[in-house]
C-alpha cells in the first residue's frame, strides 16, 4: 500500500499547508531542526512547522561558501515570514547559529535561539539545557498569550510520542534484511509529521499498512547526512537499484528514534530526550554517533552507506572520515556524495549513485 497522494504533494510544496493555517487562523512557529521540542510549541496552542530549503535558492545575505542548505532555509524564512508568528532556531552548527544573527537584523517576527549544548554527555549540559527549555517556554508564553501548564505539556508529549512511535513502527518493518516499506513512502510520513497537526498525521498513519515494497533483491543502503527534503534524491537511489533500508538523517530516524520518558517533571523529561537523543553530526561525543550508525547498518543489514553532504557542511565533512574508517573495517562500502543544489545536479549524483551501487553488486 502506498501513501496518499496528498502527502506526496505536500512534500513537493509544503507551503500549501501554511496557506491553510493562515486561512483558519492557526498561529504557526517556524523552526529549523529536530533539536527544537515541538511539544512546547504545541502545548502553547501553536502549530510547529519545520522550515525547509524547498523552493528557495541560496540567500544573497550569506557568502558563497556557507552551507547552501542553511542559506536556502534563511531565504525561505525571510520570504515566508508573513505566514509565521515567530521563529526558533536551534544552535547546532555554525550556519544555523549565524542565521539567528542575520534574521535578527532582517525580520520583525519574534525570534528565539535555543542554545543546544554540543557535549551531550556532560551532566551540567543537561542542567543547562533544562534552563534553556524554561526560557523557551517563557518565550512561547509571551508571544502566544497562553500559559503552558503541566497538563498541556503532558498532552503534547503524548501526541508527539505517539507520532514518533508510529513512525518508528513503520521504520522497523525493514529490520533484519526485510523489504517491506519503500523509502519514498517512508520519508514523506516523517516530513508531513513536521508540518501537519499531530492528531491529523497520526490518524492518517494509523490507516496505512505496508507489507512489501517490491524492491526485494536491491542493494540495501544506509543514508548518512543531515536534512533531505528533495525526494528526487531518494527516488534515484531506487532507480539505480538501491533500497534505502535505514538512515541517520535529521529528516529521518533522528527525528523519531526515541521518545520522551514518563516523568513528573515534564521539562526535565524533554531536556533529557532532546539532549540524549541520537546525535546530530554537529553534536558530540562522536563515539555515540558512530555507534548509532554502526547499529543501524547491522540492524537493517545495509551493504553500503551513502553520505549525502551538502557542500560546505563542516560536521558531515569531518565525520565522514571517521565513518568511512569505521565501516571499512567492518567491510561496509561507503561513498560521499556532495552537492550544492541537488535539483540542478541530479544527473551527476545519479551517475555516482549507479557506480556505487554497481560496485557493491547491484
Amino acid at each position: 500500500m502506498a501513501i496518499p497522494s496528498e502527502l506526496r504533494d505536500l512534500c513537493k510544496n509544503p507551503t500549501t499547508i501554511l496557506n491553510r493555517y493562515k486561512d483558519s487562523g492557526v498561529k504557526v512557529i517556524g523552526y529549523t531542526c529536530s533539536y527544537v521540542p515541538e511539544e512546547l510549541i504545541i502545548s502553547a496552542g501553536l502549530q510547529p512547522y519545520r522550515i525547509t530549503n524547498i523552493g528557495a535558492d541560496v540567500s544573497a545575505l550569506t557568502p558563497s561558501f556557507v552551507c547552501p542548505f542553511a542559506s536556502a532555509v534563511l531565504e525561505n524564512m525571510v520570504r515566508l515570514e508573513g505566514f509565521f508568528d515567530g521563529f526558533v532556531i536551534a544552535h547546532t552548527c555554525d550556519p544555523m547559529w549565524r542565521l539567528y544573527d542575520i534574521l535578527k537584523k532582517k525580520i520583525s517576527k519574534p525570534l528565539f535561539l535555543l542554545r543546544v549544548p554540543h557535549n551531550t554527555d556532560n551532566e551540567h549540559s543537561l542542567e543547562f539545557f533544562k534552563l534553556e527549555l524554561i526560557r523557551f517556554k517563557k518565550f512561547l508564553e509571551e508571544n502566544s498569550g497562553a500559559t503552558i501548564d503541566e497538563n498541556a505539556l503532558f498532552g503534547a508529549t503524548r501526541l508527539c510520542n505517539e507520532n514518533r512511535s508510529l513512525l518508528k513502527d513503520i521504520y522497523m518493518l525493514n529490520e533484519h534484511g526485510q523489504f517491506k516499506i519503500n523509502a519514498l513512502d517512508r520519508f514523506p510520513l516523517v516530513l508531513a509529521s513536521m508540518w501537519m497537526p499531530k492528531v491529523e498525521i497520526n490518524t492518517q498513519i494509523k490507516t496505512l499498512h505496508f507489507n512489501h515494497s517490491e524492491r526485494d533483491g536491491d542493494v540495501r543502503l544506509h543514508l548518512n547526512g543531515t536534512s533531505i527534503y528533495d525526494m528526487d534524491l531518494i527516488r534515484i537511489i531506487g532507480d539505480s537499484g538501491g533500497f534505502v533500508a535505514s538512515d541517520d538523517l535529521c529528516t529521518g530516524s533522528r527525528y523519531f528514534w526515541s521518545n520522551v520518558e514518563k516523568s513528573e517533571d515534564p521539562i526535565s523529561a524533554l531536556a533529557y530526550r532532546y539532549l540524549k537523543r541520537t546525535p546530530c553530526p554537529s553534536q558530540g561525543p562522536i563515539e555515540d554517533r558512530l555507534e548509532y550508525i554502526n547499529f543501524m547498518v547491522k540492524e537493517f543489514r545495509a551493504q553500503g552507506v551513502i553520505t549525502f553532504a551538502g557542500r560546505f557542511c563542516d560536521p558531515i565533512l569531518y565525520d565522514s572520515v571517521h565513518i568511512r574508517e569505521m565501516l571499512s573495517k567492518n567491510g561496509v562500502a561507503t561513498t560521499l556524495i556532495d552537492y550544492e543544489n541537488s535539483t540542478q545536479e541530479i544527473g551527476r549524483i545519479k551517475t555516482r549513485m549507479e557506480a556505487f551501487i554497481e560496485s557493491i553488486g547491484g
Binding site: 545575505l61 550569506t62 557568502p63 558563497s64 561558501f65 556557507v66 552551507c67 544552535h91 547546532t92 552548527c93 555554525d94 550556519p95 547559529w97 549565524r98 542565521l99 539567528y100 544573527d101 542575520i102 535578527k104 537584523k105 532582517k106 535561539l113 542554545r115 549544548p117 554540543h118 557535549n119 556532560n122 551540567h124 549540559s125 542542567e127 543547562f128 534552563l131 534553556e132 554537529s282 558530540g284 561525543p285 562522536i286 557542500r311 560546505f312 563542516d314 560536521p315 565533512l317 569531518y318 565525520d319 565522514s320 572520515v321 571517521h322 568511512r324 556532495d338
Partner: protein
C-alpha cells in the same frame, strides 16, 4: 621601491615576537621531556587554569597561522586532504590534522590532553573530536553558549561554565596526578590581567594621528596573549611594546609616513599574504582597529578567579550577540576615527563570515563609510586570488579618496 618600503615601519618590539614564539615551542619540548602534560587547546580556553596545574598549553590554530606565514602549511594541508578532509574545511584544522597525521615531528610536541571550549565555532568541536579519534588522546569538550545579553555573563550561563571548569580541574587532577593550587592560580590571573591591561592600553593609543601601531604590528603582537597568558615574559613584552608606542605618539611618528586613510579590518589576517597589509600602507591606508586584535585581551578579577576565567571564555568576540558586536564596531568607528572598513570573508571561518555582509551594510549606512568585502582564506594560499583582491583594494581606496 625603496622609498615605498620606508613608508611603513614595523615596531622593534614586534620584531621580537618571532624569537618569543620559537622559545615558546622550545620550552614545550623541554616540558615534554620533563614529563609534564602537554595540552593542545583551541584559543580562548582557560590557559591560566592549565598553567596553574603545570600543564603546557599549545594552540594548533596558532601553529597553523605560523606555518602559513612561513610558507610551510601546504604539506600539512595536503596530508589532511589525503586522509579525506575536504578543502572546504577550516585551513587551521587541516593544518593541525595534517601535522598530527604526519607524525608530529615539528614544533609541537604530541598532546597528552585535548581541550576545547566551543565559543567561536563548532569546528572546534569537530576538529578536536577528529584529533581525539586519530591520536586516541583524552578529550574535554567544554560548552560556551552564545551570549545573547550581557546578563548571560552573570546568570545560569556563567554558572554552567564555572561548573565545567571545576569538572575540568577534577578530571585533569585525577588523570595526571596533579594538584590544583589556588594561590598559584590567583597569581597567574594577576599576570594574565596585567598583560591584557597593557595590550588594551597600547591599542587605545592607535586613536592618535598618525596611528603609531599598524596592522603588521598588531597581527604579530597578539601572540603572547594567545598562549602565554599568565607569564612574566608576556608582561615584559607588552611593557616594551607600550613604551615604544608611547614614544611614537610623543614624536608624532606613525606606522606609515603619510597617513591618508584610517581603516578597520574585520577578520583574521591572511597569514601567507602579509604583503597585503603593506599594499594598503604603501597607498597611505593604515589599519587602526581590528576586533581580532582586541579579542585577545580580557580583564580578570583575581578576587573571583574561576568566574573571571569563565567570563573570559564566554565573552570572546564571536560569541557575543550581533547587537553587542555592532555596538562595539560603532564605538570603535568613532574612537579611532575610521574612514572605511575592510572585511575579509574568510572561507575557513564560516562562523565569522556568515553575518559579515549584514554587519557591513548596517555600519556603512549608519556611519556613511565605504567598505570592502573580499573573499580568500586565512591560511591556505591556494584560495587567494591576489591580483583580483588587489584590484578591488585599488578601487576601494579610490572611493575613499573621493569621499
Amino acid at each position: 621601491m625603496s622609498s615605498q618600503r620606508e613608508r611603513s615601519r614595523v615596531l622593534q618590539a614586534t620584531k621580537k615576537t618571532g624569537e618569543l614564539i620559537m622559545e615558546y615551542f622550545s620550552k614545550a619540548w623541554d616540558a615534554k621531556a620533563q614529563g609534564k602534560p602537554i595540552a593542545w587547546i583551541t584559543v580562548f580556553t582557560p590557559v591560566e587554569l592549565l598553567r596553574a596545574l603545570d600543564i603546557y598549553p599549545i594552540a594548533p590554530e596558532h601553529f597553523g597561522a605560523m606555518c602559513s606565514a612561513r610558507g610551510v602549511a601546504l604539506d600539512y594541508l595536503e596530508e589532511a586532504e589525503k586522509k579525506g578532509y575536504s578543502q572546504n574545511l577550516c585551513s587551521y584544522s587541516r593544518c593541525g590534522l595534517g601535522y598530527a597525521l604526519s607524525g608530529m615531528r615539528g614544533l609541537m610536541p604530541s598532546p597528552d590532553f585535548l581541550l576545547t571550549f566551543r565559543n567561536s565555532c563548532d569546528v572546534y568541536v569537530k576538529w578536536w573530536q577528529s584529533l581525539h579519534m586519530h591520536l586516541g588522546t583524552p578529550l574535554f569538550v567544554g560548552e560556551a553558549p552564545y551570549v545573547l545579553t550581557l546578563e548571560d555573563l552573570d546568570n545560569y550561563v556563567l554558572d554552567y561554565i564555572v561548573k565545567q571548569l571545576e569538572q575540568l580541574v577534577k578530571i585533569v587532577e585525577e588523570k595526571f596526578r596533579l594538584k590544583f593550587d589556588m594561590e598559584r592560580f590567583v597569581n597567574i590571573i594577576k599576570l594574565s590581567d596585567r598583560a591584557s591591561e597593557l595590550w588594551l592600553e597600547t591599542l587605545k593609543l592607535r586613536r592618535f594621528r598618525p596611528c603609531p601601531l599598524g596592522g603588521r604590528d598588531s597581527a604579530s603582537d597578539i601572540f603572547p596573549l594567545v598562549v602565554m597568558q599568565g607569564t612574566e615574559e608576556a608582561i615584559k613584552f607588552y611593557e616594551e611594546l607600550l613604551g615604544e608606542v608611547k614614544e611614537r605618539v610623543t614624536k608624532a611618528e606613525g606606522a606609515i609616513e603619510n597617513e591618508k586613510f584610517r581603516l578597520l579590518f574585520d577578520g583574521i589576517w591572511l597569514w601567507y599574504a602579509f604583503d597585503l597589509i603593506k599594499y594598503f600602507e604603501d597607498r597611505g591606508a593604515v589599519f587602526v582597529y581590528e576586533p581580532y586584535s582586541e579579542a585577545w585581551a580580557y580583564r580578570l578579577d583575581a578576587s573571583k578567579p574561576l568566574e573571571s576565567v569563565a567570563r573570559k571564555i564566554l565573552a570572546m568576540g564571536l560569541n557575543l550577540d550581533i547587537d553587542l558586536r555592532i555596538e562595539r564596531f560603532s564605538e570603535s568607528i568613532k574612537e579611532f576615527q575610521i574612514d572605511g572598513a575592510v572585511l575579509f570573508s574568510n572561507r575557513s571561518c564560516k562562523s565569522w563570515s556568515a553575518p559579515q555582509q549584514i554587519t557591513a551594510d548596517i555600519l556603512s549606512k549608519k556611519f556613511d563609510i565605504p567598505h570592502l568585502l573580499f573573499e580568500a582564506d586565512m591560511a591556505d594560499p591556494r584560495q587567494y586570488a591576489e591580483a583580483q583582491v588587489k584590484n578591488r583594494v585599488d578601487a576601494f581606496l579610490e572611493v575613499l579618496g573621493e569621499s
